[in-house]
């Protein structure tokens, strides 16, 4: 794609006039870009500048000119790419190195000083994207990654799919050597493709293949902007190796870098907001359900305000912390059954929120559907995902008819909805609303006591119960500024039931696409963001998940990203253990366990993996296997101290299945 251009010949006279033009462009751009970019001399312009010299120009006039001649005869295009990237304040770049992006790699670490972004050495592209995913969920800022265009991108795909389903921005840049006539023969040619982006187009928001440096600047800023506009999502840029290596040619002001201005999030239609408010205000028992509603800490505050205005119970489906678990209006999923109006905020599955499905071989094997709600219950939805749907990969669920559907971002719509609800509540309703709150307080206290009594079951069992695992871990960190950097951990929801999750950073939510292998890298990415914020990261780490790409443990140790990983080692792909058991029962055949504890092909035992040794070999402090619950507390105490001193620590704990 990019031609190997010999570039301008630079002599003293032209060099100085080139500096003048570059200085002028930089001065103009400095007004419009948040981060100053490098003021390197550019080749001679065609049109001389009439502007007054800037400080850089003045300096260049009086200092000895820098040596610009090198083997390639000028500045490489990838230096300019680094200038572009630096304008966006991207802090880290987790990536697995690859020849097709060697040009920009060299520019990032040498020209860019390996700062903003800092290169983090990853051992798998899936780990790199997973880290970016986890980082965003704590920091609220996107990271970029670089990968080899074909083989590297193939490794990255599942993690990109997770980010897509979870509405998380990640900027993926894939190196690709496009000019078939000039690219090196051998591996670079094998690893080149006409359209690498096609591989991920079904689950990225946007992609581009810039063919010039000016095009790159626009592509990159546009990619960032699209990724960050709700509904957020991953974006992809194919980066030609020739363009990275070719010298910067004289483009005059075409090499300007567009200024990034965030796009305001879309709001639900004002008429629909009014109608929703009327339904909610007049309801006997309105219930709010939230999944990815709180994009930021402010989202939680807004949801509390709406819930308290209505004294409506809130079911948090948990893809983010949407609502404090400690609040008396926090309710379990079953609370939909008594509702007459349900407001769904950024739900990925409204159908299953109000319907049930039984997988018991009914109806010729396809299972049976039921309803969870009363007939006539009015449904309201605010979801930005309605604005961005693709055809091939499913990131939505069964079709649910909604009475008031709004295409808009829930958090951005909440202020208007709160005002509309306040205005719509009739004076005659105030006493009933107050009473609703009292009933919710009672229900919340009872649910808490029930949860604790359930947690006491099998308290002393070995392997260790998941309730005990979560309670012991909480006791070890409760006085710190903690953050749970794991997904559900498949621990029977005990994190949600026993920990006082109430702030945005208290829990990062699930993977989105349920692609196993997300947990470990997302925990490292989130722990990185927490490290910078001075927080303590706790990861309930599933065994099967860790083994997809355990090299991320090394990345954490290498880059001094501390976390406390407490393993939920149930020694199996337990979801599948149950699935195959279920099917065996349907078919009336004893499940074949081989020599294991569960169906052949689902267990991770014989031999048992010694995760503590695995972690230790990669620079972690680690202990295990811990099977006796009485030993867990002291091991946790020791591990917490290690993590506080800056080292990641892992406890290999043998646990109950769920």
């Amino acid at each position: 794609m990019a031609r190997k251009d010999p570039g301008p010949q630079v002599d003293r006279r032209k060099f100085l006039s080139g500096v003048a033009a570059a200085g002028a462009a930089t001065a103009a751009a400095a007004m419009s870009t948040p981060v100053a970019r490098a003021a390197e001399p550019a080749p001679a312009p065609r049109v001389p500048s009439a502007l007054r010299p800037t400080l850089q120009v003045a300096a260049a006039e009086t200092e000895t000119p820098r040596e610009t001649t090198n083997r390639i005869g000028g500045r490489p295009g990838s230096d300019f790419m680094v200038d572009v990237i630096k304008t966006l304040g991207i802090k880290y770049l987790p990536a697995n190195c690859a020849s097709s992006y060697r040009g920009i790699h060299e520019s990032l670490i040498n020209y860019g000083g390996n700062k903003m972004p800092e290169f983090l050495t990853c051992m798998h592209e899936e780990s790199a994207v997973g880290m970016a995913h986890g980082y965003f969920k704590i920091a609220g800022k996107p990271l970029m990654t670089l990968c080899h265009g074909t083989v590297g991108l193939q490794h990255a795909t599942m993690a990109i799919y997770n980010a897509w389903c979870d509405r998380v921005p990640v900027i993926v840049v894939g190196g690709n050597d496009m000019d078939a006539a000039t690219r090196p023969p051998g591996v670079p040619t094998f690893h080149a493709a006409q359209d690498i982006n096609a591989l991920v187009r079904d689950f990225t928001k946007w992609d581009d293949t810039p063919v010039s440096l000016a095009h790159f600047a626009q592509s990159f800023v546009r990619a960032y902007k699209i990724a960050m506009t709700p509904p957020c999502g991953p974006v992809m840029i194919s980066l030609d190796a020739g363009l990275q290596q070719e010298v910067i040619r004289n483009h005059g002001d075409k090499l300007a870098i567009p200024r990034y201005v965030p796009t305001a999030a879309p709001q639900g239609d004002s008429g629909a907001v009014k109608e929703a408010a009327r339904l909610l205000a007049e309801a006997q028992n309105p219930v709010i359900v939230a999944d990815r509603a709180a994009r930021t800490p402010n989202g939680i505050k807004l949801l509390v305000q709406l819930a308290e205005t209505l004294q409506a119970r809130v079911i948090d489906q948990g893809s983010r912390v949407n609502f404090p678990k400690t609040h008396y209006l926090s309710a379990p999923p079953t609370a939909v059954s008594g509702a007459d109006v349900i407001l769904g905020l950024e739900l990925s599955d409204f159908w299953a929120t109000v319907n049930s499905y039984t997988d018991n071989g009914e109806n010729g094997g396809i299972g049976a559907n039921g309803t969870r709600i009363k007939p006539g219950t009015k449904l309201i939805s605010i979801s930005s995902v309605e604005l961005n749907t693709k055809s091939n990969y499913q990131d939505f669920q069964r079709f649910q008819v909604i009475d008031v559907p709004m295409a808009g971002d829930a958090e951005a719509t909440l202020p208007a909805l709160i005002e509309a609800v306040k205005a719509a509540i009739p004076g005659s309703k105030k006493a009933a609303i107050e009473q609703r709150g009292q009933a919710a307080k009672k229900a919340h206290a009872e649910a808490e006591a029930r949860a604790k009594q359930a947690a006491a079951l099998a308290w002393d069992a070995s392997p260790i119960s998941t309730a005990r695992l979560c309670a012991e871990t909480y006791a070890a960190v409760k006085d710190l500024d903690w953050s749970i950097v794991s997904q559900s951990g498949n621990v029977s929801d005990w994190l949600n039931r026993l920990w006082p999750l109430s702030e945005h950073h208290h829990w990062i939510g699930r993977s989105g696409g349920y692609g196993v292998g997300y947990g470990a890298p997302a925990s490292v990415g989130a722990a990185l963001a927490n490290r910078d914020a001075g927080r303590f990261s706790v990861n309930i780490q599933a065994d099967g998940d860790l083994m997809y790409a355990p090299g991320v443990l090394w990345t954490a140790a290498k880059h001094k990203i501390p976390q406390l990983a407490v393993m939920h080692n149930n020694r199996g792909y337990h979801q599948e253990v149950m699935h195959v058991q279920r099917l065996s029962n349907f078919r009336n055949r004893p499940a074949n366990y081989g020599a294991d504890m569960g169906p052949v092909g689902t267990r991770i035992e014989n031999p048992d993996i010694e995760y503590h040794k695995l972690a230790e070999s990669m620079g972690w402090w680690a202990r295990g296997p811990i099977k006796d619950p009485a030993q867990l507390g002291s091991a946790l105490k020791e591990a917490v101290k290690i993590v506080q001193a800056g080292q990641p620590a892992l406890l290999n704990v043998w646990t109950q299945p769920r």
Binding site: N360, K452, A458, A471, A475, A591, P657, R658
Partner: protein
Amino acid sequence: MKRTLLLVAVLSASQAALAAGSADKGKTAFAKHGCWQCHGFAGQGGVAGPKLAPDPMPLEAMSAFVRNTRGGMPPYQKAILSDADLADIHAYLQSLPKARDYKSIPLLNP
């Protein structure tokens, strides 16, 4: 009448078989048939299945449930789980100690 007699005969025969449960054997059967997968090794329950112990439902009710279920649990018919094994499982569940009162566990009252 004849039918009733037959039913009584069947019931008492199954009661005889069910009554012969052994907690020790039941622990093995609970693992061998995969009950632990959804209910936990101590029948404590979790997201995948409700608690079964302590205080399991009576054997007859449990047998009726396990053979048919209400839908959430995949049924176990006799071809894959014998009455004898089921009775042993029941004896195992019955042998499990009562849960401690959560108020007596400091970690559950942080």
